[in-house]
Amino acid sequence: MSQITAAYRGLRLGDRWGGAPQPVRWFVMLLVIAFAFYLPYLNVLPFAYIRTDLTASGSDWASVLFLVVVYMIVAVGLNVVIGLAGLLDLGYVGFYALGAYSVALFGSTNSPVVQAMQSKFGFSEEWAVPFAICIPIAIVMSLVAGVLLGAPTLRLRGDYLAIVTLGFGEIIRITARNLDDVTNGATGIIGVPVPPGPEIDGRSFFNTIDAERWYWLALTILILIIFLARRLENSRVGRAWLAIREDEDAAAVMGVAGFKFKLWAFAIGATLGGLAGLLFGSKQQYVEPNAFMVQLSFLFVAMVVIGGSGNIFGALLGAFLLTYLPERFREFVDWRPFAFGVALVAVMILRPQGLAPSRRRAREFEDRRHEAEEAAADA
């Protein structure tokens, strides 16, 4: 382990990357992106061993890739909330659920909402809100939910926010489960619409089986989001978040509108969560409340923290590992949760700053560690 990390440090990737000329960086980036798009077809040994469908009870590789990317979108969003703005959100699954449910509620002919609209406006049985319109609906719904949740609760400090958001996630799930007349309750909604596309082999372009198409779609969205989210970090907004995290009162006296920026963080996070949920629901073509249990929120937080909160690429790495590894080792079904727990503890103790922390966090962390170690007089 230490040898590997030493070797890794020896490469000084970060520095080299920073020092490389612009065109080289562009080229490498394009290469990475191209490789990412190629991944579903990756079939050359030994690299093919990363595939998840090698064992008998394995799972579909492209579907896993899709899920990885969806969770990466989640992680990028949650990283804004936790990593940048320092707000502990334990109910992120709520937004994810909202995204999935919005597209189902408005886009599926099986949804009571659509059926009500049909009878109210005399539309045909086939009618539902077109997918293209479901997207803005989903985004607006989750954004509004983010603001509605944030407005009264962001004034609360730290850990109070954690439990309130956790409650929010549960409220969304339970409401979805109990409001039979709106959401079909526990039965869930089938026939969630998919993006339009040409028919191939008698199946619509985006279907439940050809997951690589979903993967490409999600990947494209993810790349766009990363591009935008990176802009936040080193900007007035990023600094405001940082300042709030460090000392909210002092920041206010320095003219930082704490509440406004926190609300923005929440809104951005909510939107990305909703978007990820939308992709998930649409790919599944089925939503039901049990897919949105609190534990999923914990998983999301773990992704961001394991990766190294504050750094988008850390969050991506975290999302990848925590989604991919359990799928890759499916054959150990019964032992996976146990291993997962052990891994969480072990990784965090060995590398508390996260696997790929932002430079700032890494530096902060080094300082604190030295301090703590020296503070122990008997060390």
């Binding site: 439990i163 309130v164 409650g167 727990g341 969480l344």
Partner: protein
């Protein structure tokens, strides 16, 4: 919606609520104490409780306690189970502290990391009973609900005159047990010297050490006390419900944590008030509507309370709790 049902059965519902709330309150203590001192949500605390319930089962199994023993035996078995549960829970809490938190503290890690190791520990403990032990020992471990012999058989102890409400011995045990433990703990923290040390570390660990407080000792103490209270809760829980399960801690932990925040996290009396309040609210609301909305009531009440009292019903912090 059935408000009549609530009104007509108010006495009964209140009793139910207090019973439920007493257990929340005892578990909430663990959250509140650890939070007060370390500003840390100990996510594994729900499993500390869970381990306690298994300890009760283990004790009964080993001594072969069953329903229908003589009164003396029942008392002996229960007391023994109580001690074992307290020991097991306190030990688990201490182990969690040693394994998941202390190394991080030594490295000065930020709070978020503690949260993740806490979640990790919680999973490990859950899986220990749901998988690991089953793998080695088979039943009763595993993912199914297991029965715990109801050594203390439910009997009506007395009837409250006037409202004609029958009160069973188990309920009396739960309510009285919870309140006695809380009072003892409260007195300890507020009156004893060590208790003052706990509060000092809570506010400023460095200065506390300059006053002669041994920080590590205090932290251990907090985990042990919180764990022991969860052990008490575990025994009372099994007395009332006679079951346990590998993941039984999750929901109770969640509620207890909510109760702690509701009362004002870091505040011992807050835990009691928050627990009872939450228990009663849940039962009342379930009486009016139904139990499928329970968590929604709980969290809505939490949000409403926090909106008017941003630091909970009784306000924050072990230190600020004015004795």
């Amino acid at each position: 919606m059935d408000f009549d049902a609530l009104i007509s059965g108010l006495d009964r519902h209140t009793l139910d609520g207090i019973t439920r709330g007493s257990i929340y309150a005892l578990v909430a203590l663990g959250y509140t104490m650890v939070y007060g001192v370390m500003k840390l949500i100990n996510f594994a605390h729900s499993e500390v409780f869970m381990v306690g319930t298994w300890a009760v089962l283990g004790t009964y199994t080993v001594i072969g306690a069953t329903a229908g023993m003589g009164a003396g035996m029942v008392i002996a078995a229960t007391v023994l189970a109580l001690l074992v549960a307290m020991l097991a829970s306190a030990g688990t809490a201490l182990a969690v502290e040693r394994i998941a938190y202390r190394p991080l503290r030594k490295k000065g890690a930020p709070p978020l990391i503690f949260l993740i190791t806490g979640i990790g520990c919680s999973m490990v403990l859950v899986e220990t009973f749901g998988q690991l032990l089953r793998f080695f020992f088979g039943q009763p471990f595993g993912r199914v609900t297991v029965n715990i012999p109801s050594v203390l058989e439910t009997k009506t102890l007395f009837t409250i005159p006037g409202v004609d409400l029958a009160v069973s011995n188990t309920r009396v045990l739960i309510i009285v047990g919870a309140i006695v433990m809380m009072l003892a703990l409260d007195t300890f923290v507020n009156k004893s010297r060590l208790g003052r040390g706990v509060r000092a570390v809570a506010q400023d660990p460095d200065t506390a050490s300059l006053m002669g407080v041994n920080q590590e000792r205090v932290i251990m103490l907090v985990f042990v006390l919180g764990g022991a209270m969860a052990g008490v809760a575990a025994l009372l829980y099994t007395v009332q419900y006679d079951i346990t399960k590998f993941d039984i801690g999750f929901i109770i932990g969640l509620k207890a944590f909510t109760a702690a925040v509701l009362g004002g996290i870091g505040n011992l009396r807050g835990a009691l008030v928050g627990g009872l309040f939450l228990g009663i609210v849940e039962v009342y609301a379930s009486a009016i509507w139904d139990s499928s909305w329970t968590n929604v009531y709980a969290f809505v009440v939490l949000v409403v309370v926090l909106m008017f009292r941003p630091t909970g019903l009784l306000g924050e912090s072990l230190g600020k709790a004015r004795a």
